[in-house]
Symmetry: C2
């Protein structure tokens, strides 16, 4: 097989994997298309019973690691972080100060021929060096090379890159557009002038729907933290350095929502702003880069699927002194990676902006030295919903040897159900023992009780939802008070005492935690 054919085969396999993951998510109640019975709504997703538990487990684990039990800092004492939950709708001035109203926009061009819309900064224009014929615009993305080759052939014979000058559309004056053929067009001159398209969703507040009443759905949870920085300082006992953490929904009116829950219009973030003295910022930046990588590894993302990528100078916003992305190798980015979390050194940009725009002094006064300063900020900002997607992709394990053909290899701590209690038959006293065990175990772990159906089908279901242990009650249980434990990954079975079930699961979770 040629290398290209092999690569294409691999790509198809990966694509299929993603389709299978999406299908499993719907089939087993992890994630549904929002408003599905009404034909859906592009860019919005609903979390089913198991997806909700999985997402809650990731949410609670982050909260535990960031707010309830934050790590030990470089000086050997525990880091101080408090939680916050700010409103989705804030005074619109917040978003003016943050730069989102002015700058949180993508430049878009329309094609008058095809009615398609493109991000201007995603279009690459090839202009013939010999001045013969039109320029050819191609959309950056998965099939860039392929569609470029096709359109080179169609509009310029079999020319190669060397015959063209290559520029971004956003660098080209509109007067030149008349000679550019759009990515899906058949003739030049159909692309409109780029127009900024703001990603903030707008709404109007109060009884009068005038422009004075415009407000925005937050585009990120971070600003809710910055505007409460002073409130938190005044009402709690924190001292610099300290962090404020928040988990919550954010909204972006994406032009092309895609890749399942990876790029959706409504999503959840887990963000922490860490306020420190400017001279210590570099130390804390390094500290959080390490800690955040550990976090994702601890819950089961393998090192080979994680990448720490530093932003290049052209990616970096002007005020940032450095940003690292923790990226994950999703099936749809493979062999590349997609962002899971960003860790940014934001300097004092945000506090300065809000101090200026609000007219409220946000300086910190050190009680010991009497020094006044605006703290610098390190921001680890993770996607909760993207984290859920990474966990699903990581856990998805095809296995032709078992009836389900696949199992979800969740870290037990994240698994929606820690154990399933399965009476072998729905008679002979099995259901009664199972129900009693279920009532005992559910006090400590989320567990499933599934009484009727062929036992093989019930095992298959638990494999597909990633339950680490199946506990089966059978006739022997009546005789000697033992039950069968079936291990998810190995499918191995062993016999344990009914009264030891709780301790068995507890130990299993503890050993997996290390």
């Amino acid at each position: 097989m040629s290398q290209a054919a092999e690569k294409s085969d691999q790509a198809t396999a990966l694509e299929k994997n993603m389709k299978e993951i999406v299908a499993l998510c719907k089939r087993r109640g992890f994630i549904y298309q929002a408003s599905e019975i009404y034909g859906g709504i592009n860019g919005f997703w609903d979390y089913g019973p198991l997806g909700t538990e999985l997402k809650n487990n990731l949410r609670d684990w982050w909260w535990r690691k960031m707010v309830l039990c934050p790590p030990i800092g470089p000086d050997g004492t525990p880091v101080d972080i408090v939680g916050l939950d700010s409103a989705i709708i804030q005074n619109p001035k917040v978003w003016v100060a943050s730069g989102h109203v002015g700058g949180f926009a993508d430049p878009m061009v329309d094609c008058k021929e095809t009615k398609l819309r493109y991000r201007a900064d995603h279009l690459i224009v090839f202009t013939p060096k010999d001045g013969q014929g039109s320029s050819i615009a191609v959309q950056e993305g998965d099939d860039f090379e392929e569609s470029k080759a096709r359109r080179f052939k169609k509009f310029a014979g079999k020319k190669t890159d060397a015959d063209f000058e290559k520029r971004a559309l956003s660098d080209i004056a509109f007067s030149e557009f008349a000679n550019i053929i759009g990515p899906d067009a058949s003739k030049p001159g159909t692309l409109t002038e780029p127009k900024a398209f703001n990603l903030l969703f707008e709404t109007k507040i109060g009884a009068v729907a005038s422009d004075d009443n415009v407000a925005y759905l937050r585009g990120e949870t971070a600003q809710g933290i910055f505007v409460n920085y002073k409130n938190v300082l005044d009402s709690s006992r924190v001292k610099v350095p300290f962090g404020i953490a928040q988990i919550g929904k954010a909204f972006r009116n994406e032009v092309n929502p895609r890749n399942f829950i990876f790029r959706s219009r409504e999503f959840e973030q887990m963000e922490m702003e860490f306020f420190c003295h400017p001279k210590d910022a570099k130390m804390w930046f390094d500290f959080w880069k390490e800690e955040r990588q550990k976090f994702w590894q601890e819950i089961g993302l393998t090192k080979g699927n994680l990448l720490m990528r530093e932003h290049g100078h052209n990616e970096l916003v002007f005020y940032s002194k450095g940003t690292f992305d923790i990226e994950y190798k999703f099936p749809f980015t493979d062999p590349g990676f997609g962002e899971l979390e960003g860790i940014a050194y934001r300097t004092d940009y945000d506090l300065t902006q809000h101090q200026t725009h609000s007219g409220t002094k946000l300086e910190y006064i050190d009680q010991t030295t009497n020094e006044r300063f605006l703290p610098h900020v390190i921001e680890p900002a993770a996607g909760l919903t993207r984290g859920v997607l990474a966990l699903l992709c990581e856990a998805f394990t095809p296995d032709p040897s078992r009836p389900s053909g696949v199992y979800l290899n969740f870290h037990p701590r994240l698994a929606p159900k820690k154990a399933a209690i399965l009476p072998l038959t729905a008679k002979d006293g099995h259901p009664e023992i199972a129900t009693k065990l279920y009532l005992e175990l559910r006090e400590e772990f989320p567990v499933d009780l599934d009484i009727k159906q062929n036992i093989g089908k019930r095992y298959a279901r638990q494999d597909e939802i990633g339950t680490p242990y199946c506990l089966t009650i059978d006739n022997d249980t009546l005789k000697d008070e033992t039950i069968t434990v079936r291990h998810r990954n190995s499918m191995k079975q062993e016999r344990i005492g009914l009264s030891n079930a709780k301790e068995f699961i507890r130990k299993g979770l503890e050993s997996a935690a290390q």
Copy 2:
């Protein structure tokens, strides 16, 4: 003191109480006005470090009682309920089917003289029986009697109720408005015709801001459950009767947000839809009425402050076969009560609406009897943010005998911090022992470590945030490894072994739980 004066005095005391609660919430980091540094935004609130933990505790307790460990049903087997987390933005057809687009509206009238706006159904009109003079409109509410008396005197001499015919403005034809004096107006004829004002916040989705792209922020979490009823049935193992539970934000563009977080524009709900056979609906309605009252009592709301109120026929929506509200005696409703949770028997109205509007069959087929039917629905719908307010009001306990003058008597399960670890001084090895104890305890409970400050001030702070136990490390700790426990409510102190601290708190929480 006259009865009236006494009542007025009591009202002032209660009003003062509410002001003190709001002030404490801000001072100690429970709840802040949203966007405060920008002058706020009417009807929106941010939860500070302690408010977030308190709200999370109530959220998790509801989830535990409804999803992870639901109650035992009338037949002796555990009730089956699964969780869900649907998007805030759904296909707009959802809200057409639910009736919110057409009917989720308050009729509003404006006053052309004062520019004030009123809910038409909150205005009462008094028309002189003798036909002499104008009619007088008065706004229903706290000072209704007072303002009525004042305006009777001003516009109609000292006439009494008996001299007037009393009607709701919404029952009066607009042609009669010319003779009505608005509640704050000085002359008749200034009220406009009532106009429906929809409470759903609107936004627009996608790059083109046309009317085709209108969508709504959900006005309740319930509809997200109904539109996923079929998905849940198809992807999980639930059988009728079963419930689907959801916790999340909802938005209502209230004309007059008021009473702190009681009536805000962005709030959180905890709703469960219980699907059952029509013949069993009455039984489940009674069941959930009992269970939900128990829930609120278990977390510390006292019986005297709770009221079960049945909706009258005029309050009941046409499809409901009965609704009960669990009401709480808030300081601003005292001696009356305000809604905390509604338990409604909604029949098959919602599923019928969505079946008709979506064209998707939503019938349930009983596997045993082959009977096909649309399940009936019992809905316990609680306010999470209202629950937080009730917990704060209930816990607020003025006590002039202690330095703080007040303490929050939270049920330990709901208290944001279960214990505070306080080294007596910031030297002599006290902080080291305290930090070690903090690291040990935080693995199991949310605890506070507060090192510096006068111990009395630190106790006062813990009283104000409702921490059940203060653990103090002093010089005796160095000698005999004992610490002082100070109990929040009694302020009594006792000495326990340092190594027994975890077990002591664990037992304290368990005994409080019964």
